[in-house]
Subunit: 144 residues, 10 copies
């Protein structure tokens, strides 16, 4: 436990995001995501929801302003054109953390797996909602 | 030993299936299968039959409902069109565990080896029956 | 994720308790506990309360019936004779899991640290309550 | 799988007993034994009975003829003077493997744990019978 | 780099202090300290002063309020009764971080080495001042 | 040392062949073979002849009956059409172990190296005879 | 600490540059560079500026005189034709260390990442200036 | 294989004796010796006799001339006063290698095990003779 | 130190050349060679000249008689047609060790680096002469 | 190779002395010293003399001025009161490096071994002279 750091962030998760740089991506995965298979680095957060982890991470983690979509979700297999119910909450958390509207990309299921393998790491949560995975891309902290 | 967990599941096997996600596959291999050669992760269950392991695993492991064949066996080399005697028992265990008919794919011997290498892991049993290998694909646990 | 297993139990925690035997002890530690220093094996469960972890573990984990106190808490430093408010909840969870009254031992702070070092492992939770640590001792699963 | 080797012996168990020398001891432990805690080397044989493992091991493993008791069991806590029902079977397997009467020592529970820590290794079986643990001591293969 | 985290804290140092609990100690060592010899865990911060590291660490790290001296320095060998010039700055940083007066213990050189070996870790700085080492003891973050 | 196991087989060699399955291959290499370079797994048997190792291995190791050539030697560079003197002895050992004539393939030197890299492992003997390397392919142990 | 060695060089950084040979390259990266992702070997120097590290390294490290550009920076994304303000200082340090004019190459951002992956290692500094990364190529120390 | 080096010496055995210095001891153990249990470093030489290994080692390994007994064997348990038949051969090899009479110490069985644990390493041979173990102590190579 | 072994050969270098087989190559590299970058296995011999190491290695290491060029040097970049001064000494050492004329191949600088990566290992010497690198290819020790 | 660093210092030796602090000791051992047995950290410098290594190390390594004897040698076993011939050279190198007379302690052979085990590390040279071992103790680099 540290002052100023949300206690839901384990030392391993804190260490992981501290090591990331401009353009590195992090997957916050739902409970059904094949996380061990698709992660270069794995941080477990079983039993937690994706919004709880996302909100805590974004207190410390700047989003990339060099790209159009600094966040991405997995396109639904059942209804490819429609949003999953939980995405509204993600949108709200992203926008609020950055103080601007964040455009979210949708990525087809197997393309999402391939992209996950190239990211810096995967946080395996206990999120029960289907299509609950999200990728966030780290930005720059400008010089003072 | 734990309450509610079939004692034939070793801590390593339990850990392995707990780490798997949607779409990850597990090989339950017979005693002649080249398991060490073809396994990304290996769990030993020497001396046990495939049906005993399969039945125990399926008490905890949901099969994938997104694909046509959530299970696969190795096609016979001697009589490519015919089933191996032990497959009847596999069919019964699969159907009973899921409460529906499970269609089983047949995969040619060397293609089976290649696919085994891409699975999450291999359980090496002592099953003496020829063509006793089976692959199962993990499904989703829906939100409550 | 597995059927029948509480999703708050990470694969690592499941693996840990599955490996334990008769008389082995587990510490479920609060957020201020020096867990890394005092653990032979460490499982992180940051952000969760001790009661949530305790209740999930006890669904699978039998308590020892060979000893007088199959559970222990850390004696308060400030008011050595008085219970911490959270212990009531522990008592309720223990009694309910075993279906009998479980007597809980109180252990002085530094003696508790020494005992923690001899246990099988420590689960590091995010429990904010002071004196929130608990040790549980594993029992036997009788032959059928 | 190898010719002449009982298939219940995993490669790891075979490797373990092949490495042992005169006077080295092996614990074949029941399902409730705290095996991970008390083993210098651990070989898992979940789901198997102690008699099945013992009989297979003794096909390859000579008992020590330099000592009075080349085997030992854990003295009962409940009825310290009485044998556990399963010991009869152990006696029969030991005598038959060596072709002579093998005297079995009884060791108090916590002394048994301490001795287990000094042995070459522990085989963790799924034996459900209480007091089902046995220690065997390796003998010499005389020159031809 | 993360928002809100002083950039002088490397990911390894951040990870180290996040893992510490109540009563764990950290050495921030000067450039001549035999850090590798006396550290259970070592974090390098070559080229930085102790005050710069101390001030950054204390933004996140609470001091222990259960003990009389939550900080300690190495007693001078040359003038055992006198303070080293740099200690004034340490006193100011400690008091300011905690908002109260922090009493600092003086520890004889070889006793300091022995104590360093029992701490959670050592940060090896480039501090050129003699007697520049300091030990800080972690406190509790109270429940909200 | 174990009963029934030829003492020339080290625990490591025994472990290696016990792990192999149907179709896996083993190289028993002569003293000049670049074994470290071309082995996925290496077992040393310095100072022994290839025939001594081959004869011992084949007491436990069934040859593959699914292929035309369950054994292979390195084609001579100096006289590509002629057998090396030691092959007669290999033929006798192979035939005697299986109780049938075993056809031996000849493989060009550099193709032999490439194939060696794909085998399960290499046993590095002290065989002084040139062209003394042999590959054997493991067969199936049929159900009883 | 050693005599003659700038104290800002950690033992790890010293070890790294001592192992490099003719033509090997080193990245000295700014605080936003994705160093962990793109480094074969990583040395942390958090909290230091690139000029401070560069100047210290070049006291020991000869630049390559066999190539046109023994140094390279990352081309600006915002103003591809213009220099970043900090490059002036790099030019001065390079020229002064070698006693001749050093021509600096500009490399497009993603090409820079790919090249970083092929270098000997990356030093992760705390440099806040954008486009603060620099690659240096090691030269030969001529025979005396 | 190397010129001038007896081929029975594996690279591992050669490496082991090359690392030893004045006063370091080596056990050359018979097939029944509990080598894995009592060895700080283990080199396997299964299937070889102790005299064959001893003779090869002593071509490269000088015996210690600072002590009365640069060699030791295990005192017989059955006939404590009598030599084992194989010791004659050891005496001849030792005397011949050094060109002087080498006095051999006899060490009680369990004291021999304890001493083995303090030696540099153990060579596990296939020597079938009982009481076939020998310890040799390395000497100095004098300056030229 | 061992009898008959040149003391300049470290245990690691001795172990390396003992493990090599027919056709395996060794690079003896000069002080400016990028050895860590281009070595599958690295043995350090800082402070020694290439001729000293080469002469010692060739006392034990046979050169390959199956190829036209069992040795290779790096072609000069400055004067591609001319020999480097130190090659005369290499020629003399090679010829003298084998008792016949050894033809030496010249390999272009970057091709030399690529070939180095495929060799068994690299010995990093302190040779100051430019173009001082040499590759030697191991031959066969014929049966007696 | 680096500018200003004596090339006889390998990267490993440089790394070792850079990590040492005030009071840490280094053994520079002769060729007969049992270095592997008595070293916490081992750096090989086979083939070099102790004076060559000592002189190079002392260019970077300050001796301790807090103790009476910042250097120690092994007392002769043959003539306990007399110096070994090589010590004169050590005295000259030590005095010249520090610019003052350095008093050298003599330590009995087995006490020397025990002390060696407590030092930071051992450099194993090829020094042929008997009683050629020396221990040096690191001092402080004072603030500028």
């Amino acid at each position: 436990m540290l002052k100023k750091i949300p206690p839901i962030l384990s030392p391993e998760l804190l260490y992981t995001i501290a090591q990331m740089g401009h353009g590195d991506e992090l997957v916050i995965a739902d409970a059904n995501f094949p996380a061990v298979t698709n992660a270069k680095r794995l941080v477990r957060a079983d039993g937690h929801s994706v919004p709880a982890i996302l909100e805590a991470v974004l207190q410390l983690f700047p989003l990339d302003s060099y790209v159009d979509h600094p966040a991405a979700v997995m396109r639904r297999v059942d209804k490819p054109g429609e949003p999953a119910p939980i995405w509204d909450e993600y949108q709200r958390i992203l926008d609020s953390a950055e103080g601007r509207h964040i455009a979210i990309e949708q990525v087809e299921r197997f393309a999402f797996y391939e992209r996950a393998k190239t990211t810096f790491g995967v946080v395996a949560t206990g999120e029960g909602a289907l299509y609950g995975n999200i990728i966030i891309k780290k930005g720059v902290i400008p010089p003072k």
